[in-house]
């Protein structure tokens, strides 16, 4: 034992513990303040967690809304396919084709459907006009997928071409085949009513 616990030295007067003199009510007041502070800290923590979750949810909603239109555009594409399949059901009607054999379609790669239609309108010869209307119909159908104008040109071809034009040919498109069938049925029906 080199240094007894309470042996006074020159610093004892300065460093000895002061007499305890606690302010009245200080202990309880500090306890109340610390308890309030703890409660506030817990509340703030929970609020921050709730805000974080809400922010994540909001970001998810925004991203979802943002992405929705693109998904609709992609869904619309396949709905066109069944329409084409429904329309292209052929009705086989065998009618022997009298007269000259079908001529191969002239190449119209360089000419547009509108220019062909214009030539057909201006043609003096009916047969030439019919031929050009058919080429214009093919060009509208294959080149531009313009079904309305293609059907219009095909009908003009059938009007100009007369009865020989109604006979089916291997080079006929699905739309022309359908129009020929319809025109043939109308002809049959008109004949039977008159007879």
């Amino acid at each position: 034992m080199t240094d007894p616990p309470n042996e006074p030295d020159d610093l004892s007067e300065l460093l000895s513990p002061p007499h305890p003199a606690e302010s009245p009510g200080l202990r309880a007041a500090i306890l109340r303040r610390t308890q309030r502070r703890l409660a506030f800290t817990r509340w703030a923590l929970r609020a921050a967690q709730a805000a974080g979750i809400a922010a994540i949810f909001a970001v998810g909603v925004v991203v979802g809304v943002w992405q929705t239109p693109r998904e609709r555009e992609t869904v619309l594409v396949p709905t066109l396919v069944p329409q084409r399949e429904v329309v292209t059901v052929p009705v086989p009607v065998l009618v022997p084709a009298p007269g000259p054999s079908t001529q191969p379609a002239s190449p119209t790669v360089a000419r547009t459907a509108k220019s062909l239609e214009l030539d057909a309108e201006q043609a003096d010869d009916v047969a030439t006009a019919a031929k050009l209307y058919r080429q214009a119909g093919d060009a509208y159908l294959d080149g531009e997928q313009d079904y309305a104008n293609a059907a219009r040109c095909y009908r003009l071809f059938l009007v100009r071409g007369g009865a020989p034009a109604l006979s089916p040919e291997p080079s006929d498109s699905w739309l022309l085949t359908s129009l020929k069938n319809a025109a043939f049925k109308e002809t049959i029906h008109a004949t039977s009513n008159n007879g």
Binding site: L15, S23, T34
Partner: protein, 183 residues
């Protein structure tokens, strides 16, 4: 600190953070008197300064409770560290305020009364303790506040009595110098 004490303090801390008001009240009551005595010693017995530092210390403890790690030390040592920093800050603020007051009322100096002399002496003690390095302050606290013998201090710190005597001697000398330098 034993493993059981560490576990107990960690459990108490978790309970307090989870909202257990009774756990906090017991923890607070268990350490209040000891902490108040330490702060009073650090403040040289100045009652107003002690009250301010005591209150601020407990508020900081509550604010930083989540960062208390029982594996690194006891709860009391942790709050003593906070109290030490708080005391230094409060003392600096008090010194600044006192300097401003003196400069404004320089012409109105009166003879120093006994009470004023006691306050100034207490302020010098507090300032000298605040100026000491932590290991000097700790050994002086063990010697003068906790009334421990050199052997007890040596056993608590895991040092030899000779090393503690040497440390005490240097701490006393540092305190004297700091006390003399304090205006």
């Amino acid at each position: 600190m034993s493993e059981g004490d560490t576990w107990r303090e960690r459990t108490t801390r978790d309970a307090v953070l989870a909202g257990d008001a009774e756990a906090w009240r017991q923890w607070y009551d268990a350490h209040f008197d000891r902490l108040a005595a330490y702060i009073a010693w650090r403040c040289g017995g100045l009652r107003d300064l002690t009250d301010d530092v005591l209150q601020e210390t407990w508020l900081v403890v509550v604010r930083r409770l989540r960062s208390f790690d029982p594996a690194r030390g006891t709860f009391f040592n942790w709050i003593c560290g906070i109290a030490s920093n708080t005391a230094r800050t409060a003392l600096r603020a008090r010194t600044r305020q006192k300097t401003r007051t003196r400069s404004l009322g320089a012409c109105d100096d009166r003879p120093t009364a006994d009470a004023t002399a006691a306050i100034e002496k207490a302020e010098r003690v507090a300032a000298a303790l605040a100026a000491l390095p932590d290991h000097y302050e700790a050994v002086l606290r063990a010697k003068y506040l906790d009334r421990q013998s050199v052997d007890e201090i040596a056993a608590a710190r895991g040092d030899s009595p000779k090393a503690i005597e040497s440390l005490l001697s240097r701490a006393r000398q540092a305190f004297r110098e700091a006390y003399e330098k304090t205006p």
